[in-house]
Amino acid sequence: MAESDNIVVETAEKIFADLADPQTINNDKKGAWQAPLWQALSEAGLPLSWVPDDLGGSGASLADGFALLNAAGRFAVAVPLAETMLAGWLLAQAKIASPEGEMTVLPASPKDRITLDADGLLSGRTRGVPFAKTAKHFAVLARGKDGVSVALVDAAKARIEAGLNVGYDHSDTVTLDKVQPVALKAAPKGLDQTTMMLMGGVARSLQIAGALESMLDISVRYSNERVAFEKKISKFQAVQHNLARLAGESAAALAAATSAADAIASARAFDDEVYLEAASAKIRCAEAAEKGGAIAHQVHGAIGFTMEHILHRYSLRALAWRDDFGSESHWAVELGKLVANRGADELWPLVASR
């Protein structure tokens, strides 16, 4: 796997290598690996990377946390690491301390709304919430008549309809019906649902890029092992060209995602330039997941289509992650509107702004 000069990522990669070997996970249908993995991640303070010390977290930088998510994507881990990190980040924006244990964020879709009433109670229904079923708490972004608030909610107070996404991970519908939050504070100026969706979208982009890196790795390796027509299939030009395209998609996804992460980590506000970066990353990574996943399966032949083979751990998750925090069609429409609204002569200055 990629070497890193980043202590957070090094720690995480070591834990993943020890406790999240994809083949072991794939063979273990009972999920016995989950608890030790989550415990190790928690002991290392990784799920609360984006929470400052004084709010109960480990206070890593945004940049380090993003790099950690890319590493998690390379292992396609199915524990709520990204979700807990995002929840911790959201709570920290409103200076709410993070509790221990798994968390996730609400809403997880740009079209769904949670509202705050005059009595300080939360209501609303939101679909496609990753790991809601496993979470002990929810970090909630809600709208009330006085603007945007952030709340910490006990998951036991919500109604949860369990579901699975394309990658066989929990993706649930959560309904809050006049729920009293554990903590509630006004969101800082500038934080709204769009900001949170962009933040979640970039997290998913980094995971998709990581999964594509692994798909490229295992596809190259497989092509150098599999023999057909008395040759390694890697020697066929058509196969080489498919893998070259997969390398291109993987590189594009990683470039888009790391650029957006860097933009957020170094920006003062979620301005139009950050919007371009974050929305583009989600759009481009989703496209790469589709094209790249198809190539990886093509190279693997039928074996990649079996439950026994690990390829689907990466390919299906990458495809599933397209849907969280706004699909590529959603962001394409929004980005297109933004561009059109700024006008033709402002398009290039926007693209060339960094």
Partner: protein
């Protein structure tokens, strides 16, 4: 070890932004003065000598070269900004671009000192135009099949044979070309080619124009008949040009010009749909912008690698592959989206004229500078598959 290629998120430094403003202001003045029309990509602009000199006077040619050869010793990132602003404005760069991008760097590396002193400052002043003589009628992708012979004679070489698809040969002052100085060996079929600096517009060279399906005349057939090249015009190693030629191609493949050639239709589409697009147009534009933005980030990253003294051959090939496929599809995607643009859009005529030209331009984009198939071969080698 991971096979994935990393494109670090390089940000253009502050001084680049300052420079960008200067370039934009300069181009706006040129447009106002009628030098070129940014909305008309299909003009004949092969010969814009005065514009070249003005760009040279600004210090925007040979930007990364040493001061003693007339270069201002600026960074690859600054050069990058100038290139993209020129490209996006549709400026008439044809006369100086090849010299600036690749011929100059080749001379810097391989030419004898007196030739560097003579020619490089003139490139920086925008006075001279270069052509690239690699392809031959039976040697394009397979560069090493080149046959045009350079036969040793007193004080130099005699050249006989034909180069083809030579862009700008009809206006070029010089060509950097590869010729066969000895046959390939059994062990190495790349052996036996040598790179030469050729002074054009002399007896023994005949330049025949070749029309293109766009209606333009940009490339040519160049026929050499007992044409004499002196010894000190040999560039680099005799019989060893293959290494030089392949590293030269990295310059040709990594720049922003490799995904911006048909960009103007996107701007015009945005203008035509207006500030409140329907969902279909908005989505189409959003996707194209996301793809463009991603490629640009990758391309800036490659410029950063060049700045750091690296040789990003595989990375450049990836950007060129994704970039030219994109710029080839772009006019067709824009055509799809433009089908529903109001008849009354003020720029409708401009958009249609641009689409007509871009659709005719598109077929060449994945060929020039190395075809897609060849690039994917290079990437496959980078992945350890060959």
């Amino acid at each position: 070890m991971t096979a994935a290629l990393r494109f670090d998120p390089i940000r253009l430094p502050e001084k680049c932004e300052q420079l960008r403003k200067e370039v934009r202001a300069f181009l706006a003045e040129e447009i106002a003065a009628g030098t070129f029309d940014p909305h008309k990509p299909n003009r004949e602009d092969t010969d814009a000598p005065e514009f070249s000199r003005r760009v040279g006077a600004k210090g925007w040619l040979g930007m990364t070269w040493p001061k003693k050869y007339g270069g201002p010793e600026r960074s690859f990132l600054e050069r990058y900004v100038v290139t993209e602003e020129m490209r996006v404005a549709n400026a008439p760069t044809r006369r100086f671009f090849v010299a600036d991008r690749q011929s100059g760097p080749v001379l810097l590396k391989y030419a004898p000192e007196h030739i560097k002193m003579e020619i490089l400052p003139r490139i920086c002043r925008g006075e001279i135009c270069f052509a690239i003589g690699m392809s031959e009628p039976n040697s394009g992708s397979d560069l090493f099949a080149a046959k045009t012979r350079a036969t040793k004679t007193d004080g130099g070489y005699l050249i006989n044979g034909t180069k083809i698809w030579t862009s700008s040969a009809h206006i070029a002052d010089y060509m950097i070309a590869i010729f066969r100085t000895s046959p390939p060996t059994k062990e190495n079929r790349r052996h036996g080619l040598t790179q030469f600096l050729v002074k054009m517009k002399q007896p023994g060279i005949k330049v025949n124009p070749i029309g293109q399906i766009t209606g333009q005349y940009e490339f040519n057939e160049v026929v050499f008949t007992d044409f004499f090249v002196p010894d000190d015009h040999v560039l680099g190693e005799v019989d060893g040009a293959w290494k030089q030629a392949t590293s030269e191609l990295a310059y040709e493949r990594s720049g922003p010009e490799r995904f911006l050639e048909t960009y103007y239709v996107l701007t015009e589409l945005v203008r035509a749909v207006g500030p409140n697009p329907d969902t279909r147009s908005a989505e189409g534009i959003g996707r194209l912008v996301a793809q463009l933005h991603t490629m640009r980030r990758m391309s800036v990253s490659v410029a950063g690698m060049l700045e750091a003294g690296k040789e990003p051959v595989v990375e450049a090939s990836i950007v060129k592959d994704i970039g030219t496929v994109w710029e080839q599809q772009l006019p067709h995607r824009v055509r799809d989206l433009a089908a529903f643009v109001e008849e009354t859009a003020t720029n409708r005529e401009t958009l249609e004229r641009q689409l007509d030209f871009a659709i005719k331009t598109a077929p060449k984009l994945t060929i020039q500078g190395g075809t897609t198939e060849v690039l994917r071969g290079i990437i496959a080698r980078g992945l350890g598959l060959r």
